[in-house]
Symmetry: C2
Subunit: 204 residues, 2 copies
DNA sequence: AATCGCATGTTAACGTCATTAGCATCAATT
DNA sequence: AATTGATGCTAATGACGTTAACATGCGATT
């Protein structure tokens, strides 16, 4: 009957779970992950500090939910990356990864900005799998053996992730750096890696 | 008169500052950055919870001190990386970065595992500069223009950092993964990037 | 339509932590 | 020996995460 998140009248909220995730995204964007607090999110939504516990076991589970959302958005972006050849698709996937991270800073920060012990949050692990898959598929078309494909994927993910993380940190020099050139450099590095594999003859 | 950190008798500690950093490293190694608490470090050292504030303005400054130490160790490792050619030095620097991160997990986690707003901790920023320098010097010998050297350095740092971060996360598949092969792959990716630059003719 | 139950919120605690203020102790200098 | 600055302590405050016990109201059952 109501559009999600618009209710907030009366005893019950309507969709507190989604509202909490949205609030978390906003607050993480403002104060970073460690500066994000359940109490402030609750205040902002006009509910008691205990209310979130009906939807999340603890604070970290809410952060994990944000991370899951981040995985969804990034996975979609990476999966949608096109390219004539598999090598191009792989490079464009890396570019998409960095661009998506930059365009969704709070989400990405939630995904990587904590020591979130991914092993303790299977929902995040599962949400991250499609992202890896999106890289693995073109990689399989490039290499022969499955093992090589996995290794290539790991290298490409590391390249994309490294660029994205440094972009978040503003470690790429002072001031807010434009994301596009950094993303382009990640794509270029991936192209170089594939090209080098090709000339080494260790692929199909 | 005393060896550092061995005193701990009487009212004064001897070298509480260093002891706190050591305790922080240990605790971060055990519980991660967010699980590290000033109170527990104080307890472990047998001092009051207020004592640390004589040496660090707040909790984050202690974490920053650990990060500074991390930069020192990593910078040393990267700087010591040898290689016949500049390209080899760059690749070996990347390998050293990943290896040093893996060998000093708690330190590296303190360096990257928080949203530490490096801009707010100039001491960390300054400690990180030599690391970038160690990459920049061989890069300068490879490229012609300084701008290209900076770009190459950023790409190489991103590659090394990406591999190191994913290694920390255990994102490289399940279980504790051996660091050496991952470091080797980072080095290989760097070689590929330099090789590609070379064949593109855009360098000296 | 009245009722009942479960999902969802609330209030009221508790314990931990970061942080600060004011006091105590020690070591070295005068 | 007296002084002083660095270093540590005690005590208190306020925010937060978390839980327990109670309240509310939507929706299904009768």
């Amino acid at each position: 009957m109501w559009v999600v998140g618009v209710k907030k009248r009366g005893y019950h909220h309507g969709d507190l779970r989604a509202a909490l995730i949205d609030a978390a995204v906003q607050l993480i964007g403002e104060h970073g992950v460690k500066g994000f607090t359940l109490a402030e999110a609750s205040r902002q939504l006009g509910v008691s500090v205990a209310a979130p516990y009906r939807h999340f076991a603890d604070r970290d589970r809410l952060v994990a939910a944000v991370a899951v959302q981040a995985c969804g958005i990034i996975g979609e972006a990476v999966g949608a990356a096109g390219g004539e050849t598999p090598a191009e698709r792989l490079a464009e996937a890396a570019r998409a990864y960095v661009s998506a991270a930059a365009a969704n800073r709070p989400l990405f920060v939630a995904l990587v900005g904590v020591g979130l012990d991914k092993r303790r949050y299977p929902e995040v692990e599962e949400a991250a799998r499609p992202v890896a898959q999106a890289f693995l598929e073109p990689a399989r078309l490039i290499t022969g053996a499955e093992e090589d494909a996995v290794h290539l994927t790991e290298t490409v993910v590391a390249i994309a992730h490294g660029h994205a993380v440094l972009l978040m940190d503003a470690s790429f020099g002072p001031g807010p750096r434009a994301a596009a050139p950094v993303a382009a450099r990640a794509a270029h590095a991936v192209r170089a890696v594939v090209e080098c594999l090709r000339s080494a003859g260790s692929l199909a």
